[in-house]
């Protein structure tokens, strides 16, 4: 039985590209900002916005976000993209949000 199941393999397609891409644009961006926040929290410590560290934190938005934007197409569905990226946001933001 299990062999038969694996025969009906999931095949990736671009059917839900808009849902996947919009998740990567919106939640991918907030996740990216959260990751730069993590880096500041645990590596740089508090730094000013335009300090050298602050500039570096801004620069690394580009590679991280671009990576999320280009890999969003291998989520199995749009829903999965929103759920996974949402969960990642949900996990990281409480750590870094300045209460």
């Amino acid at each position: 039985m299990s062999e038969q199941k694996s025969l009906v393999k999931f095949r990736y397609s671009n059917k839900q590209w808009l849902a996947k891409l919009s998740a990567a644009i919106i939640l991918g961006f907030t996740l990216t900002i959260a990751l730069t926040g993590l880096l500041m929290e645990f590596v740089f410590g508090p730094v000013a916005v335009f300090s050298v560290q602050g500039q570096f934190l801004m620069w690394i938005i580009a590679p991280i976000w671009v990576l999320i934007l280009s890999s969003c197409f291998v989520f199995r569905s749009g829903l999965q993209a929103w759920l996974y990226l949402g969960a990642a946001n949900f996990l990281i933001w409480p750590i870094i949000w300045p209460w």
Partner: protein
Amino acid sequence: MIRNDIVRVYREVHSWVGILCGLFLFIAFYAGALSMFEESIQRWASPPLKPSHITPIEKTQTLIDRVITEHPSAGRNFNIVLQSSPDRPGRMHWEEREPGADDHALPTHFYADLSTEGELLIRKEQASPVAQLIDTLHQQVGILIDHELAMPITGIVSALYAIALVSGVIILLPTLVKDLFALRLGGKVKRMWLDVHNLLGVFSLPFHIIMALTAVVFALHDPFYGTQMVSIHADKKVPLEGPPAVSPPSENAPFYPVEKLIGKLESSAPEFSPDILNYRQTRGPKPKQMLFVMGKDPKHHASRPRHGLVSLDAYTGEILSTEYMPGQQEVLQATVSSFFALHFGNYGGAITQWLYFFLGLAGAFLFYSGNLLWIEAKRKQNRKKSGFRSDHFLYQLSVGVSLGCIAGISAVVAMAKLAPGAIMNVPAQYNGLYYLLFFVCVVWAFLKRSDAKKNARNLLYFCAAVTALIPLASLLSALGLLGWNHGDHSIWVDLVACVFVTAFCLMALKQRPDAATSTQRANAKQRTESPQALSSTLDS
């Protein structure tokens, strides 16, 4: 091994993002390649200033005082030029903008010197807006609208470009070794274009990754910083480091003597050769004085286009900050600076400049070949369709936009010397001339569908003719009929224009309608091998 379905997903992604951003990127890369020589182009296009007696360096303070008495506004931000050159023909230089104009508007340049009798001579330069136009076309991917409005568009195009790079690598990976070095010239047209596209793409991939990521930041840094300010920086009350400025010790205190300043710098950083001293005041009721020394260090890359920076106390000559000074930077600062340097190509001197120029042109060609591949693929699908055909439309659009951009830029550069009076030195008029040529070419490309190939050939000849006006203008000037020639690095503009004219003519010859016969001959060879080849021959 990457699964087939994933490769197919990314093939679709690649062709869609490619088609969306390809032509914008063509313009950005063509203009960007030319902007590597923006100083030469600017020089070529600007009339020479009357030569003047350069004030001796010891009299700099007198010069500054005299200028500020007559033009108090100049004191807010002026340059002392250490090595005067035809680009900077005076000891003191400052810029003025129309009231209310933003930072991207073109300034008027003023140069001041003292004559041998001690008179103050101020000359106003009518710098040609040509170099600025090329730079704006590059930054705004060919869309000449307000800078603030254009930047989000550039940002989107750059992000699509980055996605195109990632997806392009993914679809090439499974067959990388097999396909990369196979340049199957003379085979099927599509196969050949695909090989060229892959070869160019893989070998300039590091360059393209750098360009895509830095372009995303250059276009979107305001929203990026803005988001971080209200989120991760929201509660951290880290005071912003003020600019490296000092209050004047007394009113009208003289600056630290320039000749001593240079000596001081030389002893602390012998490798750094200063070019320009930039004196500027902070805003506010009690302005503080800043002094930045811009210069070059051939061994290190610089953080700003073509310059490194060090800031000094204007009254004592002490070094305040070397944050941007080449070779004196902390690791992280050097990393951030390298992001700029890698985009601008301002490291490694002339070799890098030429390398970036060719990589830029190759990039433009990469995007053009991408469009051709899409057209070839669609042509097969659309073969039996009548009426609107997406492949015809994209072919005509690609030809019109890319050749329109080329003709527009050439015309604007040539016009600067051919008729400096007819077209005033007003950016709007240069923009108008560029767009006139651009849209003429686009309309021309769409004129008659059955003549698309013929139009492309004629447009290439047209580009060659317009570009030929550049060396022609210099030739006429050499004969004394008009304008000026500087006889310095700006001669490269003429030489490169000649090479471009030749290249456009060669491409036009390749485009002649009977060139199809060579394709047919190549296809005929394959006819026996695959029935597909036959149908594509019939179609073309």
